[in-house]
Structure formats: structure tokens, C-alpha cells
Assembly symmetry: C2
Homo-oligomer: 758 residues x 2
């Protein structure tokens, strides 16, 4: 076990690396040519314009003002300065609540750390067991931990009392925070501007009707059963083919503009391109004419595909977005059961238009349950047996496998350097590649489960990832061995020895997790703010690929909060905090630094960098609380296991804690969770009444008509033939809500738009 000096050494190293990251960040972010990497959000908001347009040539790229370098940490107070209401306004409630998870960590663990250092550390330090028993190797860290107290000592009552105090304090913080977030959400929803999703319900599993089309059937059903409230509806088209065509056309349009610009700069030479692979092979043609013709061809294909979709009844999915005259009507429809067959006419709040995950809208009910069953089994196997395919790949990646596959390379492989590389590095790579791909795999699994909004997909992926981290990182580190071996030994162990086994090895792993928190937490967060990957990619793109202003906009990838992968990692730190707050209090300061640093960094990032893809109004918060509660219960069970080996009579009082925690969870859930699922009628009525008073002549039908059209049906500012075909529930174009609606694009669209009318 590591001594205090070792830990200090490690801490110094990690602080140093974190500091280097921060200093590099401070320098890089001041350079104008990095401006789009570190402040993309302001560009997207249209507030900041490119600094390369003004000033002398050097100043465009390098910041020569030395004074700015002296205040290299001044982004920190700046990040903290923006008040929360403004932050919500600027970055959305999702982001604002996301960083409150770090704040939650600070609120829980800061007072606990003070108390633990005031009470538990002296009690442990003077325990004196380790000094007396000379046969044990021990370190200073252990002298501060519970290991320093003799089994059976009455001092454990202090730990018991502290466990209760800490738990109650955590309840307090969780309760007030849950309450706060719930009221923030309700306030956000109440003060939100008029949005289509407030009036709209997503209806799935519309039953087939022999006499009517889906659209007619939906219209009739809701005008009968919600006759005072139903306004209009939009059917959902299966537009996956169309999406491909649009994607292809956009690529060609970039090339078109690139060559046009090139020609404009030098009008003497008509630029040429080759028709073959990537413009490298084939015969040379005039580039501008070639791309113009290709785009026109694609536009025609798009138009005919659109017509096919509209005329083909099979392209209409049995789902629809139904809009109501009032928020009250929508709230009623979303919360009630429509038909006596509960698998038909499933109604639910419509997600925001940009939050909709279109491909999943048409999955029938039975298929949905089967998909979920299969995915539940798959996630179990993925969590516990993921090492098997990796070991298989690793075995392929050994020398003999390589030589078999590439016999020609044998002489090369036999070189010592390459041999050691393959043997020492490749197996690790297989695991690393898997871990990098893991969030994508989990997201794919969530998509297969059939959720209809991006926010739900994120939340479901986060749950899966948490399970994986819990089993493979936490348990895997505590009990060395693969998850499969653990599972095997757990099955063969008695139910009450599992917490004992795990609990006993917990104190010994404290130094490992302290190191983990410094490497993964501190340096990881400092690296996050540096945005090394986007920085490199932006400059690569900027140098080689950017042809148009629009391309530069797209090269500037602001990213977004990766809820699905980063939230479970925070939860791991919560778990570690709960596990160690009684056992090894020295753990807590490291945790607090992590939470504090993360809070500042992510606050800076959501202000300056990240752009949300959707706004779910903090719908993920109940998941966060649930996972914190799971972490508490696990820590309490482990504490019980450990205590049963130290002072048997304490087992029962500790057993009360998980029961209390479960009850607390049930209470909080019933108290606050409805605020995240349902929309109360009272609030809907207030907002409706207010709107009726302020805007009595609002044409809601026009407002809602085109809100839920498949994004690729928006043919940018052009009226479509389909308007004539369907009288009221038409699919007229609207202003794009996604961030790709850049000035360059829309300019171009208005140019070529008229072509697609025929």
C-alpha cells in the first residue's frame, strides 16, 4: 500500500499535468485562430464574428498582448460570474442542471469532509492497532482509515454515528436539490415561450382502418374523442431514402460552391474535376457545370421521392403528431388512455421537434416488448461477458495469428521492435478500442429498444453505461478478476458473504481509487477544457477541407454535453465518495477538488463551447437521483459487510440505513418525479388563459402546421405539391431548427429552391 508520500507524489504529478493543461488552454484560447474552437457557442449565437476579418495580419492569428497572458486563470471567475437565470437562458436548462450535478457533489461532500476530518480522522489516528501489530505493513494513509482500529473496539460506534449523520445530511441535500430542480423545471416550462411541443402529443400505434387512410383515421378519432380541443395533426412519413438523397446533395453543393469560389477568384481558368473515385480518376470535366447538373439531377430525384412517399400509403407510418387548441387539451390527451385496447392509440408528450428520433416512430407494440427483452439479455451479457470477444480478438492479434494472416510480413514482424509492439500493445488496443466504442454500442442498443426521442436515448444509454462502470470498474477494481469470474464466485458464495468479501477489500483499495480520481478526474477534466481533439480536427479541416464559409461553420464542432457517457462517470465518483466517507475520510478532499474543478470547467464549457442538440428541461434529473441512491445503498451494504467483520453487533443498526434509503427514494420519487413526467393541468390552464388574454387573435393552426415535419421534408422556403393534396395537415416548410441552418446554406437554398417546384 502506498504511503502518504507516494500519494503526495502522485498528487503533485497530476496537479502538475492538470496545471500544464490549464496553462496551455489559457495560451491557446487567447489566440484568435483558435477562437472558433474555444468560443463556438458565441459564433452560433451570432454574437461573435470572426476575429480574422480585422486588424493586421499577425494579430489575426497570434495574440501579442502580453498582459492578457498574465491573467491566465481569469476564465474561472468569468465562468462563475454568469448568474443562473441568465445561464439557463443562454445554455438551456439541461446544461444548467447538468453542472448542478457537480454542485450536488460539493454540497454533499464538503460538510461531510469537514466533519470527517474533525471527528473520524482523530478517532482513527489514535486507534493504534497498526502500530502495535508489527507484522503488518502499513502506511500513513491506513493510520487515518478505519483499518487502524482494533476489531471489536467501541470506537466503531463513532463510525456508526457518523454513517447516520452523513446519510441524513445526504438525504437533506438530495431532497432540497430535487425540490429545487423540480421547481426550476416547472418554472422553465411555465415561463417558456410558445413551443409546438406544448400543444402536441405523439400518437403511436394507430390501428389500421380498411376504409380510411391513417391521416383521416387520426383526424376522425381525435375530433370525436377530444372534440372541444383537437386542432390539427401531422402524419409521420418514412423518409429514410429521402434523407440519404438530401445528404448526398448537400455534399455536392459544398463542392459546387468551392469551385464557384475558385472560379470567382481566378476567372481565367474554368476549374475541372474528374468524374471517378473522389475526383481523382476518370475523365476531366468542367467542375461547375458537372456539379450543377448533378445537383439538379438529385433535386429531381428528391422531388420524385417526395411524391412517392406522399402517394404511397406504405410510406405513411401508423403514427402522428396531434396538436390541440390549448395546452390543457394536449396535457389531457398525453396523460390519458384513449382506447380500450391499451396498445393502440398510445399517446405521449411530443418531444421537441429537434429531439425527435424519427426512425423509431413506427415500431409496433409487440415488437417493442420483444426488442426490449432481447436488449435486456444483451446488456447482461455485454456487462458480464464483454471480455470474451475481446480476449478472442487479442488472441488473434498475437504474433502467430499475424503471421498466418500476413505471411509476407513474417520477416518484418520478426524484427524485435515490431514484435514487442504487437505483443505489448495490440492486446491493449483491442480493449481500448472496445471502451471507446462502448458508448456508441450502448447508444445503438438504446436505439434498438425503440425510444422515440434523443433525450430518452441518452438517458437509457447512461443507465446502461452506469451498470457497466459499476460492475467492471468499481467491482472489477475492488475484487480483481473479470466481471465473469466475479459473477461466478458471487453465485457460488452465500448471499450475505458478498458484502463482506467486497467490504473487506474496500479499505485496501483506497489508494488505488485516490490515484484513479487524480488521473481520470483531475487531469481528465483539465484535458476536457483544452479540447485537444476538436482543436486538432478544426485546424486540420481548416487547412485541408474547408472550402466555403459553411464548411468552416461545420468544421467548428462545438460538441455538446455527452450526457450518456459523462454522467455515469460522475456517478462513479459519487459511489466512491459514499463508500469511503466513513472508511477512509482522507479520500474526500481529492473528491472535492474533482467536483470543484469540474464545476468550473463545465460551467465555462456550457457558456462558451457546447451547443445543445435538444432541450429536455432536465428530464434526466430523476435518473441522476436514482443512481445516487443506488450508490448510497451499495455503500451502506459494503459498510455493513465490513463492520460485520470488525464489530458484529453494529451490523443490525447499519442494516437500517439501506432500508431507510429505499424508503427515502420511494418518498422522493412520488413527491417529485411526476414533475418530470407529467404536465400539471393547473399550469397548463394558467398559461392558456394568459395567452388568450395577451394574444387573442393568434392563429395557432398556422403556427403548428409545419412544426413536426420530417427535417428532410423541409425543402427550405419552397412550397411543396403536397400542400395541395392534403388540405389542412400539410407539410409546408419552416425555418430549420437545427444548428445547420447557416446563412450560406439559406442563401444558396433561396437560389436553387425554385427549381424543385416542378
Amino acid at each position: 500500500m502506498a504511503s502518504l508520500a507516494d500519494i503526495g507524489m502522485s498528487a503533485a504529478l497530476n496537479i502538475l499535468s492538470a496545471l500544464i493543461f490549464l496553462i496551455v488552454f489559457a495560451v491557446l484560447r487567447l489566440q484568435p485562430y483558435n477562437d472558433r474552437v474555444y468560443f463556438p457557442k458565441w459564433y452560433l449565437k451570432g454574437i461573435r464574428s470572426s476575429p480574422t476579418h480585422s486588424g493586421n495580419f499577425i494579430k489575426k492569428f497570434v495574440n501579442l498582448d502580453c498582459r492578457t497572458y498574465l491573467r491566465f486563470l481569469n476564465w474561472m471567475p468569468a465562468a462563475l460570474r454568469m448568474p443562473e437565470p441568465e445561464l439557463i437562458d443562454h445554455a438551456g436548462l439541461d446544461s444548467a442542471v447538468y453542472i448542478r450535478i457537480y454542485l450536488l457533489g460539493l454540497k454533499i461532500f464538503a460538510p461531510i469532509a469537514v466533519l470527517a476530518f474533525g471527528v473520524l480522522v482523530p478517532v482513527n489516528w489514535t486507534g493504534g492497532t497498526l502500530e502495535n501489530s508489527k507484522d503488518l505493513t502499513f502506511s500513513d494513509i491506513d493510520k487515518l482509515s478505519i483499518s487502524n482500529i482494533q476489531p471489536g473496539s467501541e470506537r466503531f460506534w463513532v463510525h456508526l454515528a457518523m454513517a447516520y449523520v452523513f446519510t441524513l445530511w445526504t438525504y437533506c441535500v438530495l431532497y432540497t436539490e430535487y425540490k429545487k430542480i423540480a421547481s426550476m423545471r416547472l418554472h422553465f416550462l411555465a415561463s417558456a415561450n410558445r413551443r409546438p411541443d406544448q400543444f402536441t402529443v405523439l400518437v403511436r400505434n394507430v390501428p389500421p382502418d380498411p376504409d380510411e387512410s391513417v391521416s383521416e383515421h387520426v383526424g376522425h378519432f381525435f375530433s370525436v374523442n377530444h372534440h372541444d380541443h383537437y386542432l390539427t395533426h401531422q402524419v409521420v412519413y418514412n423518409a429514410n431514402n429521402l434523407a440519404k438523397l438530401v445528404e448526398k446533395r448537400k455534399g455536392l453543393e459544398n463542392w459546387f460552391i468551392y469551385y464557384e469560389n475558385k472560379y470567382n477568384r481566378n476567372t481565367n481558368i474554368r476549374p475541372t474535376t474528374k468524374t471517378g473515385l473522389f475526383g481523382l480518376l476518370g475523365k476531366s470535366v468542367d467542375a461547375i457545370d458537372y456539379y450543377k447538373a448533378a445537383i439538379e439531377q438529385l433535386l429531381k430525384e428528391e422531388a420524385s421521392e417526395r411524391e412517392r412517399i406522399i402517394s404511397d400509403p406504405n410510406a405513411i407510418m401508423p403514427a402522428a403528431f396531434v396538436s390541440f387548441k390549448t395546452r390543457w387539451g394536449a396535457a389531457v390527451c398525453a396523460q390519458t388512455q384513449q382506447s380500450s385496447n391499451p396498445t393502440l392509440w398510445l399517446t405521449d408528450w411530443a418531444p421537441e421537434p429537434r429531439d425527435v428520433y424519427w426512425p423509431n416512430l413506427a415500431i409496433p407494440f409487440v415488437e417493442l416488448t420483444i426488442r426490449r427483452l432481447i436488449m435486456a439479455v444483451a446488456i447482461f451479457f455485454l456487462t458480464f461477458f464483454f471480455m470474451i470477444p475481446i480476449a478472442f480478438v487479442q488472441s488473434l492479434a498475437n504474433i502467430e495469428g499475424f503471421e498466418k494472416v500476413f505471411p509476407l510480413l513474417r520477416s518484418l514482424i520478426e524484427t524485435n521492435l515490431i514484435k514487442s509492439f504487437i505483443q505489448g500493445f495490440l492486446p491493449g488496443i483491442a480493449l481500448k478500442v472496445f471502451l471507446i466504442l462502448l458508448p456508441t454500442i450502448l447508444m445503438t442498443m438504446s436505439k434498438i429498444e425503440g425510444h422515440t426521442s434523443l433525450s430518452t436515448l441518452d438517458r437509457r444509454s447512461a443507465s446502461k453505461y452506469y451498470l457497466f462502470l459499476l460492475v467492471n470498474v468499481f467491482l472489477g477494481s475492488v475484487i480483481t478478476g473479470t466481471a465473469f469470474q466475479q459473477l461466478n464466485s458471487f453465485i457460488h458464495e452465500s448471499a450475505n458473504t458478498i458484502p463482506v468479501t467486497v467490504g473487506m477489500s474496500i479499505p485496501m483499495k483506497a489508494t488505488f481509487f485516490i490515484t484513479y480520481i487524480m488521473v481520470d478526474g483531475w487531469s481528465g477534466i483539465a484535458a476536457e477544457i483544452l479540447r485537444l481533439k476538436p482543436l486538432i480536427i478544426f485546424h486540420l479541416k481548416n487547412t485541408f477541407l474547408v472550402k466555403t464559409e459553411q464548411d468552416r461553420e461545420q468544421a467548428m464542432d462545438p460538441g455538446s454535453l455527452e450526457f450518456a457517457s459523462s454522467e455515469p462517470r460522475i456517478q462513479l465518483y459519487f459511489l466512491l465518495g459514499f463508500v469511503y466517507y466513513v472508511i477512509t475520510p482522507i479520500f474526500l478532499p481529492f473528491l472535492l477538488i474533482f467536483f470543484g474543478l469540474s464545476y468550473v470547467v463545465f460551467r465555462h464549457q456550457i457558456i462558451n463551447v457546447y451547443t445543445q442538440e435538444y432541450e429536455s428541461a432536465a428530464a434526466f434529473w430523476p435518473d441522476v437521483i436514482r443512481r445516487v441512491i443506488i450508490a448510497m445503498i451499495i455503500s451502506q451494504l459494503l459498510l455493513m459487510g465490513l463492520m460485520s467483520t470488525k464489530h458484529g453487533s453494529l451490523t443490525v443498526p447499519i442494516l437500517v440505513l439501506p432500508l431507510l434509503t429505499i424508503w427515502f427514494h420511494i418518498y422522493c420519487k412520488s413527491r417529485f418525479e411526476p414533475a418530470f413526467i407529467k404536465f400539471p393541468l393547473q399550469d397548463a390552464m394558467v398559461k392558456d388563459t394568459l395567452e388568450r388574454a395577451t394574444e387573442p387573435h393568434l392563429n395557432l393552426r398556422a403556427y403548428l402546421q409545419d412544426a413536426y415535419v420530417h427535417p428532410d421534408f423541409h425543402s427550405e422556403d419552397v412550397e411543396h405539391p403536397m400542400i395541395i393534396e392534403e388540405e389542412n395537415n400539410t407539410l409546408v416548410p419552416t425555418i430549420r431548427t437545427s444548428r445547420r441552418s447557416t446563412p450560406g446554406e439559406s442563401k444558396y437554398n433561396s437560389e436553387v429552391g425554385s427549381e424543385c417546384e416542378y
Copy 2:
């Protein structure tokens, strides 16, 4: 282990006792003086009148027509003859669905029994293990069971296949039955006459308002938030004191009528009574005058208590029954969240008026969660540690304890007979008394949990009782030892050895459970139809206590289906059936006889005897299915445990079964359960539209006004002062819905009613 001959002997004995019960029943039910015991339902319906009023004296009491005795089983076809729709009409959907539980047993196990005897019995019989191994004692029963097959034999694949076939068949039956019951429920609700609960929602946790009374607050809230639909409401009064006074008055009224009748028969002597204890001590007074004065006094007290309740704001509970103009409006309100605080304005379907459990209406939300926490802990201790207090009582009930408490009785106790009685009998009595009291204890616990309707109370009690039976009867019999010892050994055993331990002892317990099913099932059901307890009590009351016709009505206790205690017992048989259908197929015929006999007996009982206290429209069915599913999963785990000792490679294919069962349950639940919880808007709209067309001038307000008044506020046909005080939500009297509203009572009420107006 018992041989086939032993089982046959036991079967013969039990068949004999069952036959005796049936013959005694056949004889007794034909006697006119028992008519009110065996056909009370027809009396309550007013279809049958007392046979003692007509014919000669002997014939009034004894049936002398010998031919009727010959057809002593003819009640069986009679019970089966009534078609189901008529049965639902006659006895209600609850009862009709309840007996379908037995039908479900027949449907599941009859084809399985045929298949098991066709396939499994030959396979087992020719297994030949037991014959070859001479050191084992075995019986013919065992030769038919899985024990007769050599471990590792490939014959187990037949059992595996059969387990799959049986399971799939069970899914089939459960699915179709669930579907059938769901549609029966929806049809019942759709075709039901207008009932107050269709328009009414129970609102709980009305927040206090400084400026308004509860009634005003409720009125304003709903007229704002459901302004097109809200009709009227009734607040809930805390009328527990009043209920006591009314109870007392009713007793006095019986005496009053008794003495009046006595005086009418013999007008010479004014009857007298004594004012002291039970009319036995104290000075003699004129009985009629005395009781008349006492009743008048009580009526005055009642009136003042009513006034106190109405004028005292503390007597108004923060709950109300809110009625709507349409079923659609009520359905919307019941299914939606009203306020942004989900613990306020809790809305739920109002139970039927007679189904309301009034004392629980005012429990605040926080208290409710605490109560449920405490009860969850209590039910755990009751299930696993109930033997501790009983052992304590038993230890008190020994000779020494007795001699200490009653030193005077020492010489008597020392008598051998009494000594052996105390030692041999009293400890058993303590357990028996506990088991008799158990349903009451569980019901009390459910009441503490705070459910607001009698039907929910029954369902919750049934769940608790099922847990108790599962742990203490099933597991307790399989693994001898108390539940506490089992729990202890389970905790100390590894998780996967529990099914093995239990599974291995399953085949050995087959004969025990066959005997159990014959004693508890066959004879128990035959005893049920005899109604020995109500028979004796009726005749005792009739002889000693019946003074008036009203008393005779009350002495005639028709009883009702005791869902809370009898449904869990059926579930125990389902569990045994699933556990043994692969292991010991010989078990199945005994089970089938139980289900068949029960079905006929209970069909007879619900037609002729039982009267429902409420109608929940089969709301309990999801619970029934859930428990059947639990039984299936338990049986599959035990089969897996057993197979792992017989043929290890079969463990994995059997492991698939419980997973499949869980998935099947989730699917069925989402498919059908909403039909038992929610009321679809489409159906509500259809019924509303129909009603509007057929009865355009219906005064719904008048119809609903007095539906949800506390039963003791109905002052029988008398208008109360409170009508003047509260304008619209008044508490006007209505016709009593409970079965106690007999002609005698109402006659008397109209006589004295006018007195309570001042």
C-alpha cells in the same frame, strides 16, 4: 414415503368425509327452517319469502317430501346451469370473475394432466432406477415421479421438453383469460347503468387555504381548471363520533320494537325493564317509555353532533368527491395531475359509494409513506418471525405458568386429565388462534396503510396473506423448520444453492401435499358449502336473540367471498400444480378434483348465498395473474435446482424459462393492466354521447348531489338543517345502498324521523 395404497386410503377417507358433508348439506338445505341459511341471497333480493308463513306446522320446519332427497346432488347441475351473463347480472362481476380463477386452474391443468399421463408417467415408470437400487425404500408413487430416473439419463430431455410445452400452454391460457376478463370488465363498465362513481373523482390532500373553506377551495379550483366539465362536489366530514351514536340508537330501537311487539301481543301487561347492566339490575321502569325516551335523547345528540360537524371546520377533512358533467370529464380528471406539487390535489377514481373506506380519506401524503414503510417492515417480521411471540405465549401456557397465575387452581391442575389437556392442547391453541386471527391482523395492517376503498384493502390483504402462505406453508413444509430458521440458513447459503436445496426435497414432499390438498382442499370445500358456522349461529340467534323481523334479517348472515383470505389459498394450489406438473404428475388429478369441486361449490354459493359488499368490476384480476406468474417462476427455479443435481447440462435451457416468464408478464401487464386501472376516453365519450341522445333532460346534479355522503349522515328520508347552510353541495338524504336498509327500519324511521328536524 407413502405408497399408492396409503394415498388411496387417505383419498378414500377424504372422499368419504367430503361426501358426508355433501349429503348433510343436501338434507339440511331442503329443510324450510334452514332456508335463510342456504338461500339468503334470494331473500335479500326480495324474490324468496319465508316458507314458514305457509303450509302446515310441520312442513314449515321439516321437508317431508322424500323424492327431493333422492336427487341430493341436483344442486350441482343447477349451479352450473345459469349462463355467465345472467350470473354477472345476478351476482356481480367480482363474483363471476372470482370463480373463473378455479376455471383457470382447470383450463391450465386439465390438458397438462392428460399430456403428463400420456408422456411423463410412462417415461418415469420405465426409468427403473428405484427398482435397481435395493438400498432405497421407495413407493409406487415415487416410481411415477422423476425420482425413478437415473441422474444423467437422457430421459430428462423429455422432462425439459414437457416443461416447455406446459409453460407455453400456461402462457396461452393466461393470455386468453386475461384478455377475456379485460374485455368482460370493459363490457361490464360500458354496459353498466348510470352510477355516481362514473362521474366522480376522489380528490385528496386539498391544500389549506387561509381565505377559503375546503369546500370553496375545491369548488374554485375545479371550476377554474376543468371549467367546461366540473359539476359539483361533496366534502368529506369526520363523522366517527356520529357513527357511534347511530350504532347505539339502532340497538335501542331493536329493544323498543321488541317491547312494543310484546305489548301488542298482550295488551294487559305493560312490559318493564331494568335500567342497569343488560337490563338485569337497577330499578324497574316501563320499557316502552324508557326506550322511547332514550331514543329521543340519542336523536337529539345525533342532531347536535351533526350540527357540530358542519359548523366545526376541523371536522371537514381535506378531501372531497368532485363530480363532473360527463364521464369524459371525470376520466380526464382521474388520470391527470392537477397541481405542480404532485402530493396535492391527488385525484383518483372514486370508489363505489358502498366501497368507500371513510376513516382513511384524510391521511396526509407524508404520513402515508411513513405508514407504508412501517407496515412493510412489520409484514416482513410477521412473516418470518411470527413464531417468536407464539412460542412466548406457549411458554406462558405451560403448567408452571398456569400455577403461578392461578395458585388456587393448583390442586385442580394437578389432575392428570387437565394437566395433559393444558400441556397437549393449549400450545396448539395459541398457534390456531393466531392463524384464525391472521386475516384480521393483515386487514388491520392494510387499513393502517391508508387505502381508501374496501376493495383495495381486500387486495392488499390478499398480497400479504399470499406471502405468508408461500413462506410458512409452502417453504415451511418443504424445508422443515420455522421460517426464521429457513431465512437464517438461506442467508448463509450461496445464492444458487437455495433452489437446489428446495428443489431436491420437492419430490419427497409430493405425498404430503397430496394429503394436504385432500384435507384442506376437498374436505374444506365440502365444508364450505355446508356453512356450518352460519347455520349454528343463525339458529342460536333465531332461538335466543331474534326479537323483530329486522333482527331475523340480520341474523341471516349471507357472508361474502372472502377474497383476502381465500384467493391466496387458491394460489397455493396453483403453485403446487406448477411445482409438481413435471416432477410428480400423479399430483395433477387431485388438483383437478379440487378445482372442479370448488368451481361448482362456489358457483352455487355466489348464486344462492353470498352477497357482495361492493363491486370493483374485477379490479383484482391483475393481482391473480401476477401471483400465478410468481408461482410459475418459483416452480421453474426449483425445477432448475433439481435438474442441476440430476443432469447438469439442462440447467441453462431451464434458466430460459423464468426469463421468458418475466417477459411474458411484462408484456401481459402492459397489454391488459391499463384496462383495470384507467378508463379509456373513447369508451367514456361513447357512453356520454349515448346518454345525451337518450336522456337529453337528465338532471345530473340532482342525481349526484347526495351520492357520496357519509352513510351516517343519511338521516333516512329526513331533510336536514345542513341543506340550508350549504347551498349546492348539500348532504341530502338518499336511499340507503347498504343491505341493512330493511323495510322494518325504514318504517320506523318515517315514524320518528320528524322528531329530528328540530
